[in-house]
């Protein structure tokens, strides 16, 4: 029987790995404790709103708990949860009703809370303001990305995942992941240049 450590370190393969991955879900409290912060980070990057990210994080674990019997253990628990989170974020963006309210009230203001609450660590108020404006420009660029580009971008630059891991979590081929990532980087760099010209 494989230990949790072996599963986490990827030291076992095949059926053993699948069985061990599936067994990890037996202790669901531990799964929540272990992965909730990561899922929250992914969702915050995808929806740009802390309250929505919090709600969707809970929904993600609820959905995972209800469909845990369908989990085959082929992907790691973390990858499986991220996949659920990405689908929830896509549903959130697709939802017309939510989209209406989002367009009506939010716009670019979604990320402003994140930016405002972020301590920049700048020495002077001017530097602090500059750092926050720069961060707001990045958030603004990220919000303009397509859902797939955004998911790939967040998984790479927030979760530091490899291209293969991102491919597994998004059901895309590594080549497609790379293309999305390059386009996302291009958009962000373009936005940063615009901000430098007219901050």
């Amino acid at each position: 029987m494989a230990t949790m450590l072996q599963v986490v370190e990827g030291a076992i393969d095949g059926d053993d790995r699948r069985a061990a991955n599936a067994a990890l879900l037996d202790d669901f409290d531990s799964v929540v404790l272990r992965h909730q912060q990561r899922i929250y980070r992914v969702l915050l990057g995808l929806v740009s709103d802390s309250d929505t990210a919090q709600t969707l994080t809970q929904e993600c674990f609820l959905k995972a708990y209800r469909s845990r019997s369908n989990y085959r253990g082929e992907a790691s628990v973390s990858t499986w949860l991220i996949r659920i989170a990405i689908n929830l974020a896509h549903d959130y963006h697709r939802n017309r009703r939510m989209g209406f309210w989002r367009r009506l009230f939010a716009g670019d203001n979604d990320a402003s809370e994140v930016v405002a609450r972020r301590p920049s660590g700048a020495a002077t108020p001017e530097q602090d303001l500059l750092a926050k404006e720069k961060l707001a420009a990045v958030w603004s660029a990220v919000e303009k990305l397509s859902p797939q580009q955004r998911a790939v971008f967040v998984l790479r630059f927030v979760e530091q995942m490899s291209l293969e891991e991102i491919a597994a979590a998004t059901n895309l081929r590594p080549g497609t992941v790379k293309t999305h990532l390059f386009r996302a980087l291009g958009t962000v760099r373009k936005r940063m240049k615009e901000w430098q010209v007219s901050p």
């Binding site: 990561r38 708990y65 990532l181 940063m192």
Partner: protein
């Protein structure tokens, strides 16, 4: 010096997949290095802002009592627990009562035939008779002897009425 790095080469460098000539160029060219570092700093800021918010979330987070279970379903589950406990108590008490009842010694009754039972009843009846049933006993006893002379109650009554 060669031309500056292309956008694709810069992306590769950001992703840590730059080829050796691009890395060499980056070390030599201050303009490309500054360009890449600006973008990297922006990405790091994005990374840190999300991680900072996640840390706040971790501190705020209260663990749910149990995932996937509402307060109502928990109440129902508690009710079931109470019902099961009550049923268990009932079963145990019934078993104990039956066990206690079995411990009371019963008179040993031998299986008797019908005629033997009748004989026993007759013997019991003939043993002791309460005083109130004494005339009955006399009657039973008298069945074997000649009956005493009957008293003429009607004649006596006539005499007394004439007085």
């Amino acid at each position: 010096m060669k031309e500056h790095l292309s956008e694709e080469q810069l992306n590769h460098w950001i992703l840590g997949q730059a080829e050796s000539d691009a890395t060499e160029h980056m070390e030599a060219c201050a303009i490309c290095r500054r360009e890449a570092q600006k973008l990297k700093a922006a990405l790091d800021g994005f990374h840190d802002s999300i991680h900072g918010m996640a840390e706040d979330y971790r501190l705020r987070w209260q663990p749910p009592v149990q995932p996937g279970r509402s307060a109502w379903s928990q109440l129902i589950a508690q009710r079931w627990a109470y019902a099961v406990a009550l049923a268990a108590i009932l079963v145990v008490s019934v078993v104990l009562l039956r066990f206690d009842h079995r411990r009371v010694p019963h008179p040993v009754t031998a299986t008797l035939s019908e005629s033997e039972i009748l004989m026993q009843i007759q013997a019991d009846v003939s043993e002791d008779v309460p005083s109130a049933l004494a005339p009955g006993e006399l009657l039973v006893a008298g069945a074997e002897e000649p009956p005493p002379a009957p008293v003429n109650v009607a004649r006596r009554g006539r005499k007394s009425s004439r007085r």
